[in-house]
Symmetry: C2
Subunit: 536 residues, 2 copies
């Protein structure tokens, strides 16, 4: 999420989310902290979205709800992007959000900003760069892009408009860094189709192709390859069917009459006449492919002779889940083809030469690398230097660190509140560290709960202490430990009584210390120890 | 761990461990289930170890303790392997374990078995294949190996002895499958040194090289490269210092006089005169390199101008931890070189052509692929077919599935108990699934504990219910929920009273059901709900 501000007015570009890492135990989604926007809600002219991927639109429902959906700023984006955004908002029961469809090349005035979308190519149709022009100059945010010279829909990135902007003078370029570490030019998306057809031609049984549901041109190429070889296509997985539907409605994908069959009809066709297009290329736990691999899919039962084609690479961090899925497929007896075996995937992000081409087209005064880890943002800066941008005009930013530009120059300003907020169930918020720490502690070593019932008048025990444990292994050993815990409780209460400690909080503190020591001595682990003192 | 059995007598080959996956919450180590050996303890002639890596020796302390350390079978292995095993046993305070050092090429009689170790090359010195000969024939277990024609110590695998065994007739070959998916021959370890020197020559600041501590020949090459460029070497990380010490004692590594400096002396030398060899190539949480990357190492403070060379690739599953470490290093301003940037690593496992070479040398009657996932074991089987082994003589096994061979042929026998056992703290055992499930539940959504104190005579509540929660986020919302929980408890107790339910277990069950419903309604999450009923 990027905030562009001029003369007190704000345009927000993209409102993405990320998925939690394993350390964020139990967290469902990670959103950008939008406290800054909450305080400035009246100043927001618009939200502009570059393209329909989760890391660019995913936080939209939360941001809009937070800003008050009915009084929310208008969302500007291309037709497919808005259709995907609308479907997402409907899932969150957010209707009546003002939206304005823009075609690439179109421009609108938003307060002090002139907004223009510039057509780019990426792994989803309808991707744009965003140009925001004020009296001070033009800020160009590339979004995710590649310079695909032969895209599947025949419409390459609008290089000519980028060059024009460059000639007129761009103040700041914020560019995608995802693939700066790869030398040369990225392969064209349209090169994938013939390789898919080659792979398909070698298969005698069913073919399952898995890819991102939003990669509509990839699905188009799967359909074309299937069609060329006289196979039918079934779409499996909710998001796959949804995205292809939206893509068809908007004319991004063409399906010959009678090609598509429903998931329930798959078994009506011979194996060698069927291609299944499925979600699950990242090994996601509940995805269609994962369920097939674990023999748990209601419609598709894989067997020997089937071939599964991964037309996608694992996003960093998903390697283990993808490998597990692949190995399960081998166990069933399937053949598996990945981008390591055949060029059945092309990245949607430009490589180093494309990043240089962007810099040379746009000729920006200042450069700020976007999208990528520290390594890639630094490599992006090195490429900018290589094409002649002076090092002092390249700004390696950080979330929450605003770049202030005026007639005198550019510099980082004081940090604003930023960071991550968590979605946990239906709630979002600045989740207390303590809750995460507790979860980690309980997940590592379990929990001991000791309930002590004492008389209000003198703090003496009036019932045998209850000892409950969860997530503690080797329960056969535990019986002895429970006896020791009980006698430790008695000892602790006696000592507290002697010291005339009667306050519940202090009793509990003393119990905790004594019990934690005992449990660590016996188990050499530190489960959470939770004494509960009940006064009667 | 492999069990070879003949005429009622047993030789165990390797006793390795694996590291837990993230789903095994809180588990430290995973051991093979050795219940079968426990029952057959008297029949064990020996334990033979192929080489000193954790996945081949790691479970030794537990197996020996289980079998009774003093009456344990003798451990046979090469000198370095035994030295590493001994150091591991000492950490577990296991002394007096009978051990027998064997040189490669040597053979001994063990009951009905003739045992011979055959020298192989791998990413640790002193690796062997194990040949076990009985009246029925010879079983050859390759261990982990590559056919390195120019190993750093000049001693290639004993191809001639393998060929001799093949001429005499090998009954069963159990071969390493780790790299069968890579075409061609693996690059030689000795090719890494010159590339390290090239990389070093381009560095002006300090150089940190990280690799597996057991890869003693790699450390040798780092030392040689440092020496050639007039740099000193410091070893950082406990296992790095330990292994180099053992390696020096046994003559596997030669360090020129005065080359090594202690970790505390690093700052006494100019940056351009220093190479640091460090543990942490897998991004392990407490490793030296990880601590450096997080600016938390007591001796080494990295800064701009330092170069970190990853002379290792991530083991599958460790990619995220390695990438996090690398990105932290970039954030500090270090340069990072990985095997993607320069050939500073060579795998210790042979590629497809080496696996074929092994098959052609040994000419086994039966083949059983070892070490690898389903995919690789199947590819191994395909290679065996390609060199002429009839498909019916290739056995794709599974843990616990014994291959029975007699004069009539070979076939899988009935499954024996096998699987994984967990080490959790100091205890090991067949950890109850329920404990893992509880941990997962608590780590996902936290825990609610509701303590209800009732009078023994009539089950009426005698103190306000205590509500405690841990790992539940958004505590500011919780106040209201606690009130609702209290009134749900009252309602539940009233209903139980009406139904004349007085038994504590039944009261608790009713409370659980009512509270779980309430909590799910309010939070749309399923934290563990634990009612505790105390009778007074």
């Amino acid at each position: 999420m990027t905030v562009v501000e001029y003369d007190g007015r704000i345009v927000v570009v993209d409102v993405g989310l990320r998925f939690p890492t394993p350390e964020m135990v139990g967290i469902d989604l990670v959103l950008p902290d939008f406290a800054y926007l909450r305080e400035r809600a009246r100043d927001i002219e618009a939200i502009v979205i570059t393209h329909g991927h989760e890391d660019h639109i995913g936080a939209l429902p939360w941001v809009l709800r937070e800003l008050g959906a009915s009084r929310a700023p208008t969302v500007y984006a291309g037709p497919l992007t808005l259709a995907l955004a609308r479907s997402k908002l409907e899932e969150h029961r957010l209707r009546d959000v003002p939206m304005h469809t823009m075609e690439a090349g179109e421009s609108v005035e938003l307060g002090p900003f002139g907004l223009e979308l510039i057509h780019m190519t990426h792994s989803i149709p309808d991707a744009s760069a965003v140009s925001l022009t004020t009296e001070l100059g033009t800020v160009l945010i590339t979004g995710d892009y590649k310079f695909d010279q032969t895209p599947v829909d025949g419409v390459p990135a609008d290089i000519s408009r980028l060059a024009e902007l460059g000639r007129d003078g761009v103040l700041l370029l914020c560019g995608d860094s995802t693939n700066v570490d790869r030398p040369g030019f990225s392969p064209s998306e349209s090169g994938v189709g013939p390789h898919l057809e080659e792979v398909f031609a070698r298969c005698d049984g069913r073919i399952v192709v898995t890819s991102f549901a939003s990669n509509i041109h990839r699905v188009q190429q799967v359909i074309d390859a299937a069609s060329a070889l006289g196979r039918k296509v079934a779409l499996v997985g909710r998001s796959m069917r949804k995205n292809v539907n939206i893509g068809r409605t908007l004319g991004h994908i063409e399906v010959p009459e009678g090609m598509l069959v429903g998931p329930r009809e798959i078994d009506d066709f011979p194996d060698e006449r069927m291609v299944i297009v499925s979600t699950g290329s990242q090994g996601e736990p509940l995805s269609a492919l994962r369920r097939m691999a674990y023999r748990d899919h209601p419609q598709v039962e894989l067997h020997e002779g089937d071939t599964v084609v991964f037309s996608a690479t694992p996003i960093p961090g998903n390697e283990r889940a993808v490998n597990e899925t692949i190995d399960r497929l081998y166990q069933i007896g399937c053949e598996v083809i990945t981008p390591r075996d055949a060029p059945v995937h092309a990245s949607g992000h430009g490589y180093a030469e494309e990043v240089k081409l962007m810099l040379n087209l746009v000729k920006p005064r200042y450069v700020m690398p976007f999208h990528g880890d520290f390594k890639r943002m630094r490599m992006h800066a090195q490429l900018a230097e290589a094409v002649g941008v002076p090092p002092e005009d390249i700004f390696q930013g950080d979330n929450g660190l605003p770049l202030d530009i005026d007639e005198q120059g550019a510099r980082f300003g004081p940090r604003e509140q930023s960071g991550m907020i968590f979605v946990d169930g239906v709630e979002i918020g600045d989740m207390a560290d303590v809750a995460l720490r507790d979860r980690r502690m309980m997940s590592a070593d379990g929990i001991f709960i000791v309930v002590v019932t004492v008389a209000e008048r003198d703090g003496s025990s009036v019932a045998e202490p209850e000892v409950i444990f969860r997530g503690v292994p080797f329960l056969d050993e535990a019986g002895k430990l429970v006896d020791e815990i009980r006698s430790t409780v008695e000892g602790s209460l006696r000592r507290s009584a002697k010291e005339r400690i009667k306050e519940v909080a202090l009793l509990a503190q003393a119990l905790h210390d004594d019990l934690a020591k005992l449990v660590y001595d016996r188990l050499r682990r530190r489960p959470m120890v939770l004494p509960v003192v009940v006064e009667v």
